[in-house]
């Protein structure tokens, strides 16, 4: 086997992955042929997903290893270019692949903050951190903190920050994998999540970093092909040139023109149409740049990315590898805005303005997944409400108003939520219909329900207007092939790409978490005498436990956890960046400075995140002096607060909800949004580090030599096999 003889494998990487790429394209063509021959879509979906996952599993199994250095850092022999590809896959998550174009679609110019933030961070990483951490020779990021800042406390803090930013991120990847698998394999989400778990574990469990590296390279190839193909086709269809990155300029002009036309035809109003090219409509100027900064610094400090650069053969390669990573990431990120623009133009011209009676097929498909809504109504939501009404009738509800109390009395929370999404006249109509014909299904009623919902919203045009249509961010990339009427093989390809993106990131995160637990906690703190075999067993056990935990959390549909993913960047930025950077760049930085900086940065950020999101009223009460609220906002707050205080006991929850919702918009410091909260923790972290370091003892001369060694590429690493070669304390 190629992997038994690594020299042969490394020397033939180009050939091996070349053959793999050709093989993958052949499978795509084969599936296209099968579709032409009339094979059903669901079978095509299975072929795609089965083929790609089988390849990942194959790599995961042949790359198995029992050596610690192979397991933790792939033996430090991954060439810069291939590590770049692996990092690209590691970095680009389900959110980048599936969500990014959707964010741009929804936010227009302001969405570009994500494009800038998620690329520019690699500059900081290459200049300030990656080569130095590579020279140090650690297995994990906390390893470096422990060596530089003398001991367990710094390591422990590093592990805490690492876990807090990686776990929610991991859950989101598992969730994304489950979503794609359930959409394209037609299996229930809760089962798909555990199937995804198997796909993730098979890549990482036996071979650790080595297996993850080589599967990530394979996954990068799948995801980039899958991302480019549909939008290249779109560009060729529309403008005759297969270069979407150049041609979407034309689409941008067409969008602007169509926006004016829609306004004139009454399909959109200035209230519901957000001009696609005008900046600072969603984020104000300060928040736009604050978000860019937080995403960049967060990117540079994310442990699962940093640790990828531990696998290169040399410091020089680590630097080059960051450049290659960014190039491979660039290919996708520079394409994402064209995806969004083409999708926007397609929806503006071919969906908006169509009759409500002739909904395109893809709207029904994605409405079924709750990703598309017409006047707030999806097929998925309607089906939920129908089930709820039926249950309530069985429970003895006699009219529509009795449904909610009946469900509540039985504690059927999910059903109640589905029911309460409907406006009252819709509830009334739905109840009567179901009482007469209990066997009725959501697709039977969808058409009528939409018309009712449109009337309810005061829209009598009978057309799909701009405000009627709500597209979930995730729908854009997944649905674009269908929106543009491409054959199903393209949709299947996109699904395989999304799966590759989610799986590769999940593997990187899982490894980062499991390594922190097994190497930093178990080996370094609990049992430093543990033999190699036991260290690897412990690491694999943690891998399985963490993966199952993530799948379990994902299977509960944790809306909040998904929203928390964006927190990872702020937490990593404020918690790790000051200690890591100053550890290399400032010899005077010492243990107490770093520990205090990590604590302050992390806690301030966490406080801001939780305070502004979950305890908005309390947060605003304490910090009203710093809030960016306008006088009108303050007045509204006061009146809502008075309403809450004066409300009768049974009306208190509703009044509180209204107050809390409003408080969330004004609970802030200087108007900075929750997602950019590192804007406070980061400078405070630096300040703390400097002040506390200067106030406490200077690090030993041995430490100064140690730092000099880290700064110079020449010479041996300072750690070997996870042990420090000389302790600088």
């Amino acid at each position: 086997m190629a992997f038994k003889n690594d020299g042969g494998f490394i020397n033939n990487l180009g050939k091996i992955y070349g053959i793999y790429t050709v093989g993958f394209l052949a499978v795509v063509l084969l599936v296209g042929l099968l579709e032409y021959l009339g094979v059903p879509n669901i079978v095509l979906g299975y072929i795609f997903i089965a083929f790609t996952v089988a390849v990942y599993a194959f790599i995961g199994i042949v790359a198995r290893t029992s050596q610690v250095s192979e397991y933790y850092v792939a033996g430090r022999k991954v060439p810069a270019v291939y590590n770049g590809m692996a990092t690209g896959a590691d970095w680009m998550s389900a959110a980048s692949f599936v969500g990014m174009a959707g964010t741009l679609y929804a936010l227009g110019y302001d969405g570009l903050a994500f494009i800038l933030g998620w690329t520019g961070g690699f500059l900081l990483m290459a200049v300030l951190l990656a080569p130095y951490l590579r020279k140090f020779g650690a297995y994990t990021v906390p390893d470096f903190l422990a060596a530089r800042y003398g001991g367990t406390l710094a390591r422990l803090f590093g592990v805490i920050v690492l876990m807090s930013c990686s776990f929610t991120y991991l859950v989101a990847q598992v969730y994304g994998t489950g979503l794609i698998a359930s959409r394209f394999l037609g299996i229930p989400f809760d089962i798909a999540v555990y199937a995804a778990l198997a796909g993730i574990l098979v890549c990482s469990m036996l071979g650790g970093m080595r297996a993850v590296t080589w599967t990530q390279v394979a996954q990068y190839i799948v995801l980039i092909v899958a991302y480019l193909v549909p939008v290249v086709i779109l560009s060729t269809q529309k403008y005759g040139v297969p270069l979407p990155q150049l041609m979407y300029g034309q689409a941008l002009s067409d969008i602007a023109a169509r926006e004016q036309q829609m306004l004139q035809q009454g399909l959109a109003t200035t209230a519901d149409l957000r001009s696609y090219l005008t900046p600072f409509l969603s984020y104000d100027r300060v928040n736009f740049f604050a978000l860019i900064l937080c995403l960049m610094v967060g990117t540079a400090s994310l442990p699962h990315i940093l640790m990828r650069y531990f696998t290169t053969p040399s410091v020089r390669d680590a630097r080059k590898s960051v450049a290659w990573s960014l190039l491979f990431i660039f290919i996708l990120y520079v394409t994402a805005p064209s995806y969004a623009a083409f999708a926007k133009l397609e929806v503006y011209t071919n969906v908006i303005g169509q009759s409500l009676d002739h909904l395109p097929g893809w709207i029904t498909t994605y409405s079924n997944l709750d990703l598309v809504k017409i006047h707030g109504l999806s097929l998925h939501g309607l089906a939920g409400a129908i089930t709820a009404a039926r249950d309530a009738i069985l429970l003895g509800a006699k009219d529509w108003a009795a449904v909610a109390p009946a469900l509540q009395a039985k504690g059927l929370g999910d059903a109640l939520a589905a029911w309460d999404q409907m406006a009252d006249p819709l509830k009334q109509w739905l109840f009567t219909t179901i009482a007469q014909t209990p066997a009725v299904t959501a697709p039977d009623l969808f058409q009528q329900a939409i018309h009712l919902a449109a009337q309810q919203a005061g829209d009598t045009s009978g057309l799909i207007t701009n405000r009627a249509l709500t597209l979930d961010h995730d729908a854009i990339v997944l649905a674009t092939p269908e929106i543009a009427g491409m054959p199903y093989v393209i949709a299947g390809l996109v699904a395989a790409g999304g799966l590759a993106a989610a799986l590769s990131t999940a593997d990187g995160l899982l490894l980062a978490i499991a390594n922190a637990l097994s190497h930093d906690i178990y080996y370094k703190m609990v049992d430093p005498q543990a033999p190699t075999a036991r260290r690897l067993i412990v690491s694999r056990a943690f891998l399985v436990v963490v993966a199952i935990l993530a799948a379990f959390v994902a299977s509960t549909h944790p809306g909040d956890i998904l929203a928390m993913v964006s927190w990872a960047f702020s937490l990593a930025a404020a918690g790790l960046f000051p200690a890591l950077v100053m550890g290399v760049w400032w010899k005077r930085a010492n243990k107490w400075g770093a520990v205090a900086a990590m604590a302050v940065g992390f806690l301030v950020t966490l406080y801001y995140l939780f305070g502004t999101r979950y305890y908005a009223v309390g947060f605003y009460e304490v910090w009203s002096g710093l809030s960016g609220a306008s006088p009108a906002d303050i007045e509204k707050y006061q009146s809502l607060k008075a309403a809450y205080e004066g409300a009768a006991a049974e009306l208190k929850p509703a009044a509180w909800a209204a107050l809390d919702a409003h408080a969330q918009t004004i609970a802030n410091w200087f108007g900075i949004k929750n997602i950019s909260s590192a804007l406070f923790g980061l400078p405070l972290g630096f300040l703390t580090l400097v002040v506390v370091s200067l106030a406490t003892r200077r690090p030993s001369p041995a430490m100064a030599d140690f730092i000099d060694d880290v700064r110079r590429p020449r010479g041996k690493e300072l750690m070997e096999g996870g042990r420090l070669l000389r302790d600088p304390r």
Binding site: Y109, L112, I115, L116, T119, G120, F122, L123, L124, A126, V127, L128, P131, Q245, L246, Y248, G249, Q250, A251, L252, S253, L277, P279, F289, I292, L293, M296, S314, V315, R316, R319, K320, V322, A323, L326, L327, F330, Y333, V334, P337, W585, D708, R711, R712, P713, R714
Partner: protein, 85 residues
């Protein structure tokens, strides 16, 4: 490897770092400040301000990183701190 070499190496490395951070700030923040004005210029359908954020800065980041990797390697070699090939 004298200590002077070490000092000179680090001084040059620090200077390169400062240059890189300045360029990073330029392409991350500064050139996007006048976006509204820049959007009045339209090239190939792209409003310039939009293009800079969607493509221009990204291209700059990639080019800068490859340049940096080379430049730092030159510095390491000049002072005898580079790894053996």
């Amino acid at each position: 490897m004298s200590d002077d070499q070490g000092k000179a190496h680090w001084a040059q490395t620090r200077r390169l770092m400062a240059v890189m951070l300045a360029l990073w700030a330029l392409f991350s923040f500064v050139i996007h400040l006048p976006v509204a004005r820049l959007n009045e210029i339209v090239l190939l359908g792209f409003p310039l301000g939009y293009w800079l954020a969607a493509q221009g800065s990204l291209i700059a980041f990639v080019v800068l990183l490859f340049w940096f990797a080379n430049r730092q390697d030159q510095i390491d070699r000049a002072h005898g701190f580079a790894e053996d090939d």
